[in-house]
Symmetry: C2
Subunit: 155 residues, 2 copies
DNA sequence: TGGCTGACTATGGTTTCGGCAAGTTAGACT
DNA sequence: AGTCTAACTTGCCGAAACCATAGTCAGCCA
């Protein structure tokens, strides 16, 4: 196991208490297996209830519960659609808040893929075919290393 | 087999079952409140047991349990250190696998900050002072929109 | 030697998550 | 009218997460 030390431990430990940030709600929403897998499948293109249940491999009861929570949280919406000879059904589609979750979901999936033996799917950019990764950058476009992060209180 | 994700429902739902990826281990590790908050504080610069306990606001019992799991999973390591007049203690520092979690943790924190009323801390780049954000980019450096993601089976 | 403190470890109780099983409801088909 | 099915809903159970409290252990100091 390799360890990259920052070399600034003593000073860094004096950083004051970070602001409480609303991570509890985030974790309550997608901090469970089913919700995250459901979101992954929605990102991968699934939208119908039975399709999501089959892909995630969870019981329909749990899937229904998590989907309801995701809809209530404003991450997914139910869009009515009708296929010929079928009655009206509802497709689960991402809201803008749901779209904003893409980096988080992708980052979690990538870490799991990179740091365990199982391997995983390869996600690439349609325009150029290059593999996709999640990066930490500042607004000026620089790739930011962990040591260069500054945590500030809100203005 | 590769599938392009487009915005169209009918096509998107035909995407076959995604590869199983090792998300269970990931969620078992950081899919709980305490582990994620501990990691956040380590990223923010904390390293000592009592400091982490105080910052996260969790009982020492739970913190010890989660820290042990994080060490066992290879995300953190215990580095011995000694302050004058004190006995040897251990600091919790990130391994390379732990460093790789930065995008995921930051993305979760950012989503929570952006999509709830509470607000949150502002993370900036030390070199230029610009706010930091998590981006999805391909290896060629393009910012990748969700509709331009291609999910392929492993080669 | 005895007290103090930091870093845990152990126990018990409540809430949440997921699996299993059964029931419900609305519309299409016969 | 009766059957079938997709999409849920409800209830029970075991496991895991969290909290609170109490106990342990190792070194430093008086």
């Amino acid at each position: 196991m390799t360890v990259r030390l920052t070399g600034r431990l003593a000073q860094r430990d004096d950083v004051p208490l970070g602001d409480r940030c609303p991570i509890d709600r985030t974790l309550q929403l997608i901090g469970n297996r089913t919700a995250l897998l459901l979101l992954r499948e929605v990102f991968y293109g699934a939208s119908r209830f039975d399709s999501l249940v089959k892909r995630v491999g969870v019981t329909d009861a749990v899937a229904a519960q998590r989907l309801r929570e995701l809809v209530e949280a404003g991450v997914l919406t139910k869009e009515p659609y009708r296929e010929p000879g079928q009655r009206t059904r509802h497709a689960y589609v991402l809201t803008t808040a749901g779209h904003d979750l893409l980096p988080a979901v992708l980052a979690l999936l990538q870490w799991g893929t990179a740091h365990s033996s199982g391997g995983g799917p390869i996600v690439t950019h349609a325009d150029c075919g290059e593999p996709v990764q999640v990066e930490v950058r500042c607004a000026a476009g620089h790739v930011v290393d962990e040591d260069d992060l500054v945590v500030g209180s809100r203005r």
